[in-house]
Amino acid sequence: MKFLIYRYNPETDAEPHMQEYELANVEPGMMLLNALERLKAQDETLSFRRSCGEGVCGSDGMNINGRNGLACITPLTVLKQPVELRPMPGLPVIRDLIVDMGQFFHQYRSVKPYLIRHDPDPEIEIKQSPEDRDKLDGLYECILCGCCTTSCPSFWWNPDLFRGPAALLQSARFLMDSRDQGTAERLDELEGPYRLFRCHTIMNCVDVCPKNLNPTSAIGNIKKLMVKHHI
């Protein structure tokens, strides 16, 4: 199987280049991460992040044949050859497929991604009906891989101003939580033309999310809350 992989080591390379690799003995059921690990066994300088290998830790987001995804849950059989691998777009490259996710996490932290409560805690759990809990499905499962935000043109243009789909999904996760009491401060923080409203429903985020989440819809719901907040 043929691969074409983005290589860049700032210590030795003046500029990035694409390197060809070939992998023999591809077995049925192999994922892209397995292939990368075998290529790394041949050439240990090839660098990428990985950990759980089953799509829950969010380490191995990369651009696979032009589309962001997780290497560990991408079967080789669905990939056209040569498989072109690049780092996720829109963030500075540290080395090869490894990007600097600082800006991504900065936006995440900016939306106050934690439960805000003003009431004293009850002795037992804060009760929540199953229906209210259902509202968190599709929001809380985000693994912070960055696939959505780094495929969003609005984020590419304004990475410092637009929060991006992952952070806004997180904001929705708390806005929709019946236990959260920070609605006003969350919405105030998202005021202005950029932070929330730079989402132009391009929907790349929905297209690429490896967990099948829908940040665009979550952003739509925040916008609705914003309108209510102002009335």
Partner: protein, 599 residues
């Protein structure tokens, strides 16, 4: 901060330095729960993690966290304590187990208050499911003690703890790899030397207290359910600092890893009503555990599967797995309660559990052994007259620690509980320690040199075997010589093989010597850690001549309380083993004396 200009060859004159009240190594549930406790108490905390915190392996925990909330069925902490002791095959320390089970309910409620999105019952309280080894009334009917957020409980807890730490402004060193502890002549632990992975620049973190929370060592085995990062780094650091490893022969094989792939299929699947069948379509667990059946303890179920396979009653052309059936359950239950399992099964086994059974087999999963601690998280070693003297300034919590609450076999749902209960307890004890120990002690130069020499070793150029091939051999050797069933001659051969691999590692060389995000170098350092732990594991297993919990000796098939109701302590120096007594006496209630373990 000092200006960094230290090469990895060890020019420590200009070594970058940071100072904290507490250094936490590892950012899984244990490390983050401790860090939160400390940050909220206004201690200065630095958390070093080799991956971004939410990538830690706690994220992969599925089924849930045990607490006797009695939201679904009658329950109380004392029944939980009994089940845990029985599950541990009486090797667990009963004082620590009482502490954990008593603390469980409040700890889970605290997590809920912090935002964990637990699944809910109609009355708005936390959803609880049945899990293996749980009973009402000391061995009676099945209990439902496992609090769940669908089948993504670890993810829900880890993300919430990280988020609360953001709120508490904990200082994170993301993608820093800890090399070794810094220790002075009096035995105080003074922090650690780490490298920033992105730049390769070493950093000395001076700390009045150090908490190791680096998780387990599942990567010791080729077929495992664990993340690539579970290489036992903290345990190996402790070993190199002269601290023994406790009970390393007890390694849990989870009954249901996806056959041939390893991904974990939660015990929650059986808790929701799933069951195992062999190649003849038989519900074989009825034979091995007539009462608890598929919800017997993990060691029991794994052994049963291994026997079925050995006796030719496996499934598939190679008869190398059994089937986990859930297709009799309502599709909506599967979608609602087990969505993550369904995803994993479809992705890796090509099977939608709504329509067809999942192929599974026993897979290395959890390190019961680890760094010996007491219930306050203090690392304790035999010294002077005492069997358990605290190492000043050093703490451990979570899978890397051995409190011991899991003894010879951990119950499902007790791992997430362990990390939050003892992460929190360690945080509290550290706060007390800091009141008495207000100043940093002078740094021990030799110890820093030693840590830096670990880096310098991999700067050597020239020909040599690759890290990758040695790692693969080590893991396959552990699978073959130290698996579900063990015996003397096989273990002896295993020790020889592992020591031969250790020798090969001395001559291994890297081809990648760059400083920038050198993952090959990190993998080499991880392999050194695994190597020390592999030796500890096979040596401890060879010595224990009985069968208890997960340690199953064909040549010594019975538990031997007369000679072996004791914890192993393996020392790296001289590959020496010592033993210490099990704490049979709980804190306040009567002891549960060992009795035959039947499910």
């Amino acid at each position: 901060m000092d200006v960094a200009c230290c090469d990895s060859g060890g020019n420590k004159m200009n070594l970058t330095k940071r100072k904290f009240d507490c250094l936490v190594i590892g950012a899984g549930g244990g490390g983050l729960r401790a860090a939160l406790q400390l940050s909220q108490a206004d201690a200065s905390v630095g958390v070093v993690s080799k991956v971004f915190p939410t990538r830690s392996h706690t994220v992969a925990a599925q089924g849930g966290i045990n607490a006797a909330l009695a939201n679904v069925l009658p329950d109380n902490w004392h029944w939980h304590m009994y089940d845990t002791i029985k599950g541990s095959d009486y090797l667990g320390d009963q004082d620590a187990i009482e502490y954990m089970c008593r603390a469980a309910s409040n700890t889970v409620i605290e997590l809920e208050h912090s935002g964990v999105p637990f699944s809910r019952l109609e009355n708005g309280r936390i959803y609880q499911r049945a899990f293996g080894g749980q009973s009402q009334n000391f061995g009676g009917d099945q209990a439902a003690r496992t609090c769940a957020a669908a089948d993504r409980t670890g993810h829900a807890i880890l993300h919430t703890l990280y988020q609360q730490n953001i709120h508490a402004r904990t200082h994170f060193f993301d993608e820093y790899f800890a090399l070794d502890l810094v220790k002075d002549e009096e035995g105080y632990i003074l922090g650690a030397v780490a490298i920033e992975i992105e730049t390769g620049i070493p950093l000395l973190i001076e700390a009045k207290t150090t908490l190791i929370a680096t998780g387990g060592a599942g990567q010791l085995f080729y077929n495992n359910t664990n993340a690539r990062i579970n290489t036992g780094d903290g345990m190996a650091m402790a070993l190199r600092a002269g601290i023994p490893m406790e009970d390393m022969e007890f390694f849990q094989f989870h009954p249901t890893g996806i056959a041939g792939k390893g991904m974990l299929i939660s015990e929650g699947v059986r808790g929701e009503g799933g069951y195992l069948v062999n190649g003849e379509g038989e519900r074989f667990m009825e034979r091995y555990a007539p009462h608890a059946k598929d919800l017997a303890s993990r060691d029991v179920v794994s052994r049963s599967i291994a026997i079925e396979l050995k006796e030719g009653r496996g499934c598939g052309p190679d008869k190398d797995h059994v089937l986990l059936k859930v297709d009799h359950l309502d599709a909506d239950i599967i979608k609602k309660r087990l969505p993550g399992i369904r995803d994993l099964s479809m992705t890796f086994a090509g099977v939608d559990p709504i329509n067809a059974p999942i192929p599974v087999c026993p897979t290395a999963h959890y390190t019961m052994g680890g760094i010996p601690t007491n219930r306050h998280g203090q690392v304790v070693v035999p010294e002077h007259q005492g069997a358990e003297e605290p190492v000043p300034g050093l703490y451990a919590a979570g899978e890397c620690a051995c409190v011991s609450v899991h003894g010879a076999n951990r119950l499902g749902g007790n791992s997430l509980l362990d990390i939050v209960v003892f992460g929190r307890a360690a945080g509290n004890h550290i706060i007390e320690y800091l009141k008495e120990n207000r100043y940093h002690r002078p740094i021990a130069e030799e110890s820093v040199d030693y840590a830096l020499s670990r880096l310098a070793r991999w700067d050597k150029k020239g020909d040599g075997e690759s890290v990758d091939s040695i790692k693969t051999d080590l893991k396959k050797t552990m699978d073959k010589y130290c698996g579900v069933f063990r015996q003397e001659d096989v273990l002896k051969e295993g020790v020889e093989k592992v020591l031969a691999i250790e020798e090969r590692l001395q001559h291994a060389r890297l081809k990648d010597h760059s400083k920038i995000f050198n993952t090959a170098r990190i993998e080499a350092l991880e392999l050194e850690n695994l190597m020390d732990l592999a030796v500890a594991t096979v040596c401890s297993a060879l010595e224990r001549k009985e069968s208890r919990g997960a340690h199953s000796r064909i040549d010594y098939p019975e538990r031997d309380d007369k000679n072996w109701l004791k914890h192993s302590l393996y020392f790296k120096e001289g590959r020496r083993l010592e033993y210490k007594p099990v704490h049979i006496k709980p804190l306040t209630v009567d002891s549960f004396p060992p009795k035959p373990r039947v499910y």
